[in-house]
């Protein structure tokens, strides 16, 4: 593809967009499950606190339904956590994986992926990577 300045621009294939979309959904789902597991709440309690049915909660915790920012934020409020969303450079992906030691493999891609965590008043949980400048979005308290 040629842009207005006659420079060649690589067009990202649709498959990459879809893969990144579902990757972000998985990240959101993992963050939700981890936070729920640590919250000490059961599904009934979270449903009551959020004013939704247990089935609504169950389907989202089990990954049967897509997650929206509205739902994630609502569950966050129900668990007394603020939803925090940030973009992460591709080169730093996996750095926040707290289950394994960080391998030495490093790439220099300038592109970005998205990371979603829940935070408490004590600060970000689990996500220990340096925050890229001007790429984070913090949602207002619901």
């Amino acid at each position: 593809m040629i842009d207005g300045n006659n420079q060649t621009i690589d067009v990202i294939p649709d498959a990459v967009f879809w893969d990144d979309y579902y990757e972000s959904l998985h990240i959101a789902h993992n963050a939700l499950r981890d936070t729920f597991d640590k919250s000490g709440l059961n599904q009934d309690e979270l449903a009551s606190r959020c004013g939704v049915s247990k089935s609504y909660v169950s389907k989202r915790l089990n990954g049967e339904e897509n997650l929206t920012i509205k739902t994630l934020a609502r569950f966050g409020t129900g668990m007394s956590h603020r939803l925090v969303i940030m973009y992460q450079p591709y080169s730093e992906v996996g750095q926040t994986n707290f289950y394994y030691p960080t391998p030495l493999h490093v790439t220099t891609s300038a592109a970005y992926t998205m990371s979603i965590t829940y935070s408490t008043s004590a600060g970000l949980e689990k996500n220990t990577s340096p925050k890229p400048a001007n790429t984070s979005i913090e949602l207002e308290k619901v």
Partner: protein, 180 residues
């Protein structure tokens, strides 16, 4: 010959008789578990098509399998589970066939396969959840097809077996299936 040597030999032929699935690995991600597919399944999964819905389903499945390969958290209920053979009583799991349930969205699919060894899964067949819901026999058909694929590639060698989840997945796996 060990199943691993056989598997690697199948992956190394030209064209490959079995295909290794490696998701797009970014930054610090790496292949911490392994996933091998039949060429038919691999081609279906990777090839873009005209239908946007089908492309989304494929991406949904690719990223789900990617979670396994990257060593992210999995469990034996929602992420993947042992398939129950109800043709026998009590229900039998000795066939060692597992189903993987990709998350998010519809139409839902189930992917069937078996462990070659700890942390190495061979994916053999797929079926839509709607079709499977029609009758228990649909599940049994997938069990039988998976075993046929296994026999085709590995002959009389037995699949990997274990008595608890960590025999199949070494790290980062949550046990929640009370049928063990």
């Amino acid at each position: 010959m060990s199943t691993i040597i056989t598997l690697v030999a199948h992956e190394g032929t030209n064209p490959p008789r079995l295909r290794r699935f490696v998701p797009r690995l970014l930054g610090h991600e790496k292949e911490r578990r392994k996933m091998t597919l039949t060429p038919e399944l691999y081609d279906w999964l990777m090839a873009p098509v005209a239908s946007e819905q089908l492309n989304r389903v494929k991406a949904q499945i690719r990223t789900h399998l990617g979670q396994f390969v990257k060593g992210l958290r999995v469990d034996d209920c929602r992420f993947m589970k042992r398939v129950e053979d109800r043709r026998r009583r009590p229900s039998d799991f000795s066939h060692e066939v597992w189903s993987i349930s990709p998350r998010f969205g519809s139409p839902q699919h189930r992917l069937f396969g078996t462990f070659v060894t700890q942390d190495w899964f061979l994916l053999c067949t797929k079926q839509s959840r709607d079709r499977l819901d029609e009758h228990d026999n649909r599940w049994h058909t997938e069990i039988d097809m998976t075993l046929r694929v296994w026999k085709h590639f590995f002959g009389t060698c037995r699949q990997h077996s274990g008595t608890q989840l960590r025999d199949y997945i070494a790290l980062n796996a949550d046990h929640c299936d009370d049928r063990w």
